[in-house]
Symmetry: C2
Subunit: 386 residues, 2 copies
Amino acid sequence: MKVPAPLVAQQRVLMGPGPSPVPPSVLAALALPTIGHLDPEFLRVMDEVRSMLQTIAGARSGRATAISATGSAGMETCLVNLLERGDRALVVRAGVFGTRMAEVARRAGAEVDTFDVPWGESFDVADLRAFAADRSYRIVACVHAETSTGVLQPLEGLRELADDLGALLVVDAVTSLGGVPVEVTEQGIDALYSGTQKCLSCPPGLSPVVLSDAALERVAARTTPVQSWYLDLSLIEAYWGGERAYHHTAPINMLFGLHEALRLCLEEGLEARYARHARMARGLWAGLEALDLAPRVVPERRLPQLTTVAVPDGVDEAALRRRLLNEFDLELGGGLGPMKGTTWRIGLMGAGATERHVHLCLDALAKVLERDARAATEAAARALAE
Amino acid sequence: MKVPAPLVAQQRVLMGPGPSPVPPSVLAALALPTIGHLDPEFLRVMDEVRSMLQTIAGARSGRATAISATGSAGMETCLVNLLERGDRALVVRAGVFGTRMAEVARRAGAEVDTFDVPWGESFDVADLRAFAADRSYRIVACVHAETSTGVLQPLEGLRELADDLGALLVVDAVTSLGGVPVEVTEQGIDALYSGTQKCLSCPPGLSPVVLSDAALERVAARTTPVQSWYLDLSLIEAYWGGERAYHHTAPINMLFGLHEALRLCLEEGLEARYARHARMARGLWAGLEALDLAPRVVPERRLPQLTTVAVPDGVDEAALRRRLLNEFDLELGGGLGPMKGTTWRIGLMGAGATERHVHLCLDALAKVLERDARAATEAAARALAE
């Protein structure tokens, strides 16, 4: 075959639902010389990644790990380790990722009850409690930040409900970790998974997973093997933990990148990072309003790091996103499922949550929609200054 | 918490069983700016990766993909997609990786018959045929290059045996791909998986998987869902293939790196690459003989890219490897399973199969073992010149 040409850098402005922009020092860490997966220096990197993850996830006990695959594998890790065939699972479906959790739990052999929430809305714990009635469950699972709808689901009350149902609480924090507060211990989360390519601003390829002590006990008490050998947390822990027993060859360079990305989170400070995401979102929302573009989610449930916007009537949204990509190097996301063709998803995640990104996006949207760019950027500037 | 310091480059000479040394242009490709997983530029990268993989694996039909996880996940992908609960699998166990295949197949609900071969030896197809008797199987599975023992298993005759058993032929090519000839179509392989961190000289994190048309038909004809959602090849193919349906966020930068690594293979030329691996191995083996160090595998079954060596009596092998790492920045591998404590594994893989690596390793081994370095490097030089 004809050998393809070497790749050339593409400078995209990443404002979709992830991957988010990756800081130069994270890219530089990715390109550090590869070392062995049992090299003492690498084991130290793993230890530091583990403790930084625990800090960022607010886990004062339990165990954090980075699974050697992307966020959806983190979801599968939590579910296949906590569930055994025939276990009952209660899963909230309010978008693509809750729906995926139910599917993955079913494939793990669980009896899954699904609590359906209209896309773009959050749910009340009281309603979920009423739905669960007096059944008992092995797990209750929901998504903290639904990447498909842009909804931030409050987690208050879920710990108590899980306790009453005899269940472990599983939370998808793929899009929330690093962008809004996630507090594993305080919120009583038993199993949390995330991705690297959202508010952590590392390329995709790893999935942070945090388990509480109760979840670890459940894994240890299993009577059947985990159906996935690759995602078997007991085997993974034997490598990440004290024994350092070979399980699989860890993605060395990806972990170098994640180490740097987590370091940048902690250097900025978590409170400052959350405040930055919130402020940029206020700027974007003010500008969108000036452009007469309507967010799909009510303000009090809207994710600062991911805004879903209704596409104006008569606009071919895919064609418009192609123009943004080709003319402005700007990537926005399209809608999924029932929101396909009618929704844009605008990300302000991690290193992408900056004033420059807010203005660039508003300016480009105004131009392709032929609306007033100046009004939008001035409205954003006022909101950003507040 | 105290924020850890940024990582500092460690310059190791990687001569264990993988990861192998990564060329600078592959590290540079890893650090290209991240772009979206549905960006047309990225889809082009995927297409090129796919066709380069097919060429390197000698697959004139079927489908190649890079699974978004490491080699062991490639193994799991092949097994969980081809096997349904209750299917019969015939698995050859001649080391760690054959043993792992049997375990993964069992966790997929298969009835597994294992054909055991002493570690460090290969098997005759006639013996496997006799073992199989007249039973029928869904798959016959074996390891082409056993990373734990250093044995190269000839694949001749396995296609015919698989046909007679009504089985698909599954081959582990983690350590063989790119180092010795792998010919999916000619050798009649139905499912092959590999890793990036061996003879392809890319960091770990992806697993090339190639399926024949017959294997793709088997996947399409399943009557039950694949137990793993993340590794479900039909869903993965909908993203890699024509529809470009979102499944999970691909590890963008890892695929940039793999693209460059595959390009380097093809630029060198596969025949030249195999010849280079073979020549370097002859140099190493001559030098080891001069050092009175005995390979564990007979020459005609010895992997050029991975040599297992008996540790001399009375030598604390782990302590010696620590010295090599600390004093020479040289990583060799220790033995696994029954070879633990008694075996070293010396890799000459991909970018690590060079004269410099041969001499460096022999020189360092001679020094820490207090043997004649000059005799060893001269013997190696003679063999390299042949």
